[in-house]
Assembly symmetry: C2
Homo-oligomer: 224 residues x 2
């Protein structure tokens, strides 16, 4: 697509890598990210690392405090609910504001993702399941025609996606895999009939259910 300069490409690489580590809980909430160590790991100086961390701070995934460090944020329940309440509505909007018709190729990709989801029944691996759902989400994003809405949806997703992974070990594995499979299956069905509003409704409903499960768990359990 766009021709990225060397610097921009390097930024994207490091940014996505660290963002994924946060989203997949390789850096759990509260983890301290040392600019020096990251710089050494990626073979650059602190400067480009700081640029990445500042972007992650703008997006609310980390906070930098002088003298202390750059800490991965914790998602408090109240904010989580607000984000989900908003994402619910935005998912519906995605079906109204000039949605993009899916290509055959995209549907094929989604079906291959569905197969991988179904293979997760036998293999307990929360991180892999989360990674798969990230891929599903990434595949769905381009169907949003409204550019600012697409960018916002992506940001909000990454802000809260890790919460599900956080409580996944305490949920019923088979049931969670099943719910995910069902969402992907229903979405594929709607896309094959080119029914974008239905697709939006399905995703919105699944978000609501997910918020329900999460909120029920975080609100009633021994969570802090």
């Amino acid at each position: 697509m766009d021709q990225l300069t060397k610097a921009a490409f390097q930024f994207q690489t490091i940014y996505q890598e660290i963002r994924d580590r946060i989203g997949l809980l390789q850096y759990p909430p509260g983890t301290m990210l040392s600019e020096n160590k990251l710089a050494t790991e990626f073979g650059v100086s602190r400067t480009p690392i700081r640029r990445v961390l500042q972007r992650l701070e703008f997006e609310g995934l980390v906070v930098s405090k002088q003298g202390i460090g750059t800490l991965v944020t914790t998602v408090d329940l109240q904010y989580l609910k607000e984000v989900y309440a908003l994402r619910l509505k935005l998912a519906q909007l995605a079906g109204e504001l000039s949605p993009i018709r899916p290509t055959e190729q995209r549907i094929a990709t989604l079906e291959s993702i569905l197969e991988k989801f179904e293979a997760m029944y036998d293999q307990y691996d929360p991180t892999e399941l989360a990674r798969l759902y990230n891929r599903f989400q990434a595949e769905m994003l381009p169907l949003i025609g409204n550019r600012p809405l697409r960018e916002i949806s992506e940001r909000l997703y990454h802000q809260t996606a890790r919460v599900w992974l956080q409580i996944l070990p305490d949920l019923d594995w088979a049931e969670e895999v099943n719910i995910a499979c069902q969402e992907v299956r229903e979405v594929i069905g709607a896309l094959k009939e080119k029914d974008m509003p239905a697709m939006a409704r399905i995703r919105s409903e699944h978000m609501a259910m997910l918020l329900g499960r999460t909120s029920r768990y975080l609100g009633g359990g021994s969570a802090r």
Copy 2:
């Protein structure tokens, strides 16, 4: 409210100043912002300036290109329409997702702003009118209870607000002042009756009208 560190305060100051300059067309689209000159002006080194410019780049107000410079972006009509289509819907959402009841103090402030708007009939000063509308917008933001929605609304506003100011000289001054006054008046009326959905509807409709005027002008005229 929050206790800001010295560095964070300095960042906010410089950030808001440069953002305002872009929004008020003191830096028209295409302007080159030199990090060195800005650093000299604000009495700091390039480092904190770069941090501000990177944030503005994330928000789409400028683009930095190595060897060329940091340029203020131009808002193309297509993207403008997409942003407005989204802001329309978001304005409605602001009335649904846990809106905040206005305090007496806030209504008083809005009425003082209305007076200043009414004083603009006799004084042709597009920049001052835009500054006033910015204040109005800033006063309305806290009524959005949903935090992520509030942040998004603010960002989208600053992304496109300057377009109106850009074409203001070619519009009918008295009419534009009148429309602005009417919006503020109607909003105050709705707020006094604590009718948040009505407030949301009013703002949404005014956005639609503004997009209509803008789009009619930019689409049909000799504007580039």
